[in-house]
């Protein structure tokens, strides 16, 4: 079992002929992802990385039955690409692009919602269900199948956790990167709901960071919904000064909200185990699953 993507996912890559799109399409296919189509306006009829290329997402969907889109389009055009996938009724769009203007994302998330489809990102590393499907840029070799669900904002920290758990023999049902922008599609709570329904996910690791209140909202949901799977949470940015953007557009403490401490307090009050280091994430997750773990790195 898994959440959001699995071996049934039929993936279309928007921006497949670009440098990033082409490189990561190769990586995704090597992983085993069923990439059924690519989209590049004006290059329809051709092929890239052995995948048929279409001019529009709706052509690609009609011809191949694609139901998941991966967006590798430059920031000025990415919002339009997401809306195109939503209008073509693609069930899930994963947008990797960093640097999309906030106002574009306000309109885009609204439109995605109106079409009743889902968006992951933008500015996210993507999603992996080990041995089945990867959409995005998470390194292939670190993913191992197992009982842990991972949901995180940051790319590299999510990779660290995947690798650390894997080295300790703890694999994942699905790893989901929600992204570091202020306006996102799926949030922590949306992903936790899916882990709640997934029978094979027996523990969840949340990787949060300063900015906004999505972690606090997830903590409220955990308490109110009675989410009963163990949660291990890791929050970065304890040393971040207020008013400074720490790399991610969304990682900023403003007007006293979005501090690491507020997130740690909320999650801790909701029963989550708080880890200070990646090693501790691994140890605490192992403990919650009734295993003794010696962290590898």
């Amino acid at each position: 079992m898994s959440v959001l993507v699995d071996r049934e996912s039929r993936v279309v890559i928007q921006g497949i002929t670009g440098r990033e799109g082409s490189f990561h399409t190769e990586q995704m296919r090597a992983f085993g992802t069923n990439v059924v189509a690519g989209v590049s306006p004006g290059k329809g009829g051709g092929a890239q990385n052995g995948v048929p290329v279409f001019d529009t997402v709706s052509d690609a969907v009609r011809a191949t039955g694609a139901n998941v889109a991966g967006v590798f389009v430059p920031p000025a055009f990415a919002a339009d690409a997401i809306m195109e996938a939503a209008a073509a009724h693609v069930a899930l769009t994963v947008c990797i692009t960093e640097g999309i203007p906030v106002h574009d994302m306000v309109r885009t998330t609204e439109l995605v919602q109106r079409h009743g489809v889902m968006l992951l990102g933008a500015n996210c590393p993507g999603i992996v269900t080990p041995e089945q499907c990867k959409v995005g840029i998470i390194p292939n070799h670190i993913n191992v199948a197992g009982p842990v669900g991972i949901v995180g904002r940051s790319g590299t920290l999510t990779y660290e956790v995947i690798q650390g758990l894997g080295q300790a023999g703890l694999g994942q049902t699905t790893s989901v990167g929600i992204g570091g922008d202020p306006v996102l599609g799926l949030g922590f709570t949306d992903v936790l709901r899916r882990f709640a329904e997934d029978g094979e996910t027996r523990a969840v690791v949340m990787i949060g960071e300063i900015g906004g209140s999505d972690e606090e909202n997830a903590a409220t949901w955990i308490r109110e919904a009675g989410f009963d799977k163990p949660v291990v949470a890791f929050i970065s940015g304890r040393t971040a000064p207020p008013g400074k953007r720490m790399g991610h557009a969304g990682a900023i403490i403003s007007g006293g909200t979005g501090t690491a401490q507020s997130k740690i307090d909320a999650l801790s009050a909701a029963g989550a185990a708080i880890a200070d280091t990646i090693e501790e994430v691994v140890r605490l997750t192992g403990e919650r699953l009734g295993r003794r773990v010696v962290a590898g790195s």
């Binding site: 106002h103 609204e110 670190i142 995180g152 940051s154 960071e209 970065s236 940015g237 790399g247 790195s297």
Partner: protein, 334 residues
Amino acid sequence: MATPEEARREAQRILSMDIRGYPVRSVWCETGLDIEAELYLGITLDRDRRRLVVIFSAAGGMDIEQVAAETPERIAKLWPDPFAGPLSFEMRELAFNGLSHAPQLRARAGVLASGLASAGRALYGLAVSLDALTCEINPLVLTPSGALVAADGKLEIDENAEYRHRDVAAEIAADQSADGSSGEDPFEAEARRRGLTYVHLDGTVGCIGNGAGLTMNTLDLVKQQGGEPANFLDIGGGANAEKARNALEMVLLDPNVRGVFINIFGGITRGDEVARGIIAARDELHITKPLVVRMTGTKEEEGRALLQRAGIVPATSAMEAARTIVELTKDGAR
């Protein structure tokens, strides 16, 4: 001010002030206003609702975040449909809501509501056309004649949208170079010129990582081990020799930096390549301050061996690396 002498005296007083660390370099002169009431009208991003929010309060002239924290009932909010913007009746509702806790303005509510409806729609249009993350008028002054006057304002433009507002960016830059008052930290300005994501802090341990979350965590680890981070520097994906060199050089411009902690999660990147880049940068830049490198990824053992031979401390665990760099940079360590 009633006389030119008074204006001169006041201007001189203001020019000698220092506001939140920024020295005052120029004074803007305006005709005085008859003030009946000071209101607040602003637009900002509501991350949770994924929409812009229009905020109105009869408690203008103060810090709106403080008003929101202390007397939230005095704040009225509207989340317009992003494709339609605020409609006139929605703005009137917002105005009446915001005025419901201001009995002294009760008699003016009708006039105010229609004035606010057009002001709010115009302000929303401005926020959208300029990609503003914050766009506020505070105070919005109500004069005895019933006019609304924007007495002060604040605008924050989304950096991600800078490419479609080159004109505004150029204007701001021209203003700043005219009075030499960018107010920007000189190290952060230099980093921007170098195309690096850098935040200057006041500690002694230089920090470089790849990925925003990982870099934030690098700073947290240094602090946890009793050190003080000197900066945040995210070199992003695809760490190569040139990037490593640029980043190291940047971090070491800060004279407070006593040593640098480089934390790289390799992913697809090869550890031996990263190691060669760091060694080359150290040699070319003649760096003598301690460097501690923690890296994982393909060929990480080869990378660590290369570093070791070159006299750079390699580490497998980020925690251990943080402890080492804090040891090497503490008072009297060298």
